[in-house]
């Protein structure tokens, strides 16, 4: 418990928060890298997930791919890419993108493939092209599940972005790595708490978005049937 007290004391020091290398700046970097990573992963995972969900082709590979990718150790990947790409942000971003892809892919695939077939059939029957069907029907109806995937990916990435400091001077992981070297456990603990809080806040934020989208896309009866 003593360490927790010290950690809180470290966090209560305004000097820790300010400056170009302060906690605020680190939080900014941390969230920036996390967001960039999820964005890059989405660029790869969403089109693939939507395509598989739309065509129903290759649904098996989603399960295999997400299972396999989830078993990959991110630290191992980071080391591997660190050796390949050298010092800098490249290696952690690649490793984190690989970490984020399974959740995003699963979300896009599950969301699109779960859209009611009769709605899809109706949309086609009245003259929607495949492009319109995907963009105006399947994606909007799948949105809550797609955002669910982002929520999971964001959770994993924010907590794992600490590893970016392994090869780059970026993010909240800096405190962990330098704290480990200098035996400054209060600082390590304090930074960890910040990561935990960020993760929880992000999760809450996305859950709100998800609920809003669900209400928007899956309107439930708010008035008793037969009011009209």
């Amino acid at each position: 418990m003593k360490i927790l007290g010290q950690a809180l004391q470290w966090l209560s020091d305004p000097q820790v928060w300010g400056g170009v290398e302060g906690l605020w700046a680190r939080i900014g970097e941390h969230l920036g890298v996390s967001a960039l990573t999820v964005l890059l992963a989405a660029v790869i995972a969403w089109p693939l997930g939507v395509w598989i969900g739309h065509t129903g082709r290759g649904a098996g590979i989603v399960g295999a791919l997400t299972g396999a990718a989830r078993a990959l150790p991110t630290l191992g990947l980071l080391t591997l890419f660190g050796l390949l790409l050298g010092i800098g942000l490249g290696a952690p971003v690649v490793a984190l993108v690989i970490l984020a892809i399974p959740s995003l892919l699963a979300g896009a695939h599950a969301g699109v493939s779960a859209v009611d077939r009769t709605v899809i059939d109706a949309a086609r029957s009245i003259g929607m092209s495949t492009h319109q069907l995907v963009w105006e029907v399947e994606i909007p109806l799948a949105a809550p599940v797609i955002v669910g995937g982002v929520r999971t990916a964001m959770l994993q990435v924010i907590s794992t972005t600490t590893l970016a400091a392994y090869t780059a001077d970026v993010g909240l992981g800096r405190y962990l790595f330098s704290g480990l070297k200098t035996k400054n456990y209060a600082m390590m603990m304090g930074a960890s708490l910040v990561v935990v809080v960020l993760t929880i806040l992000a999760d809450l934020g996305f859950s709100v978005v998800q609920r809003w989208l669900t209400r928007r896309t899956h309107q439930l009866s708010r008035c008793p049937a037969g009011e009209y």
Partner: protein, 269 residues
């Protein structure tokens, strides 16, 4: 005018949905295709808007082979009403109604105003325009489905058991409304149903199908009732079972028509 020229649909599994089916549906008339499930009636309907491509044979609209048309354009030019309504759950009622005009690139206030008129035309309060499909009853959703099918002012309406999922009272109401609409609009309507009473009530021409899309009999409701072609048809229309055998009894100076079970159907004037 819609023509089926000996169309067949054979699935890769070898299952025959429709075999050598030919039929001519004149313009501005209602043709009901009636048969039990699996007789190929929905398959035939969906051939008209190319949701199903025939394995052989041709479908012509106004003497033009639809295989040559662009499938998406063709579907936009034909109204389609489904049993389940098939409304887009994430769009408001008005947006659902004007889906096809918007797909054709006609957005704006004129289209929206036309959408509201259509809601009125099918007997709905335009105030529901901002609601979502799930907030409506089944009968209301079907009316919206009809309004949507009419939105691009198509010459042809395809209706796939549109009133199959609503209760009998609402169904009767919707049938009456459709008859009223038809006298007003004079579309060419192909109506699929498994309910012979509905087929008789709505069809200028009724086509009774047996499995494989084979025509058991076609004609006006009067022709089919008075002279069923064979035992299949008489079974189907209920002539043999006494379902259509009526007689009159006199009850306190009025002549009441009763069916074979003695249930009163109405008063003869």
């Amino acid at each position: 005018m819609i023509e089926f020229e000996s169309v067949s649909k054979i699935y890769p599994s070898g299952a025959i949905a429709v075999e050598e089916f030919s039929l001519l549906i004149p313009s501005h008339s209602v043709c009901t295709l009636v048969g039990s499930s699996g007789c190929g009636k929905t398959t035939l309907l969906r051939m008209v808007n190319r949701m199903v491509t025939p394995s052989s044979g041709r479908v012509l609209i106004d003497s033009e082979d639809i295989a040559a048309a662009d499938a998406v354009e063709l579907r936009r030019s034909i109204g389609y009403v489904l049993q389940s309504g098939g409304l887009l759950p994430h769009r408001t009622i008005l947006d659902n109604v004007i889906t096809v005009p918007v797909l054709k690139g006609r957005k704006g206030s004129a289209t929206r105003a036309h959408g509201l008129e259509l809601l009125e035309l099918v007997g709905l309060d335009p105030a529901i325009a901002t609601r979502y499909p799930a907030q409506l009853s089944g009968g209301q959703q079907q009316r919206v489905g009809v309004a949507r099918a009419l939105a691009a002012d198509p010459n042809i309406l395809l209706m796939d058991e549109p009133f199959g999922a609503v209760d009998p009272i609402i169904r009767r109401e919707l049938q009456t409304e459709l008859t009223r609409l038809q006298t007003e609009l004079g579309k060419t309507i192909v109506f699929v149903t498994h309910d012979i009473d509905e087929a008789f009530r709505l069809g200028d021409q009724v086509v009774v199908l047996r499995s494989g899309g084979h025509i058991a009999q076609q004609g006006t409701p009067e022709e089919i009732t008075s002279a069923p072609a064979d035992s299949f048809v008489s079974d189907f229309v209920g002539a043999d079972l006494g379902g259509r055998r009526l007689h009159a009894i006199t009850e306190s100076d009025r002549t009441v028509i009763v069916d074979a079970d003695g249930k009163p159907l109405g008063v003869l004037r």
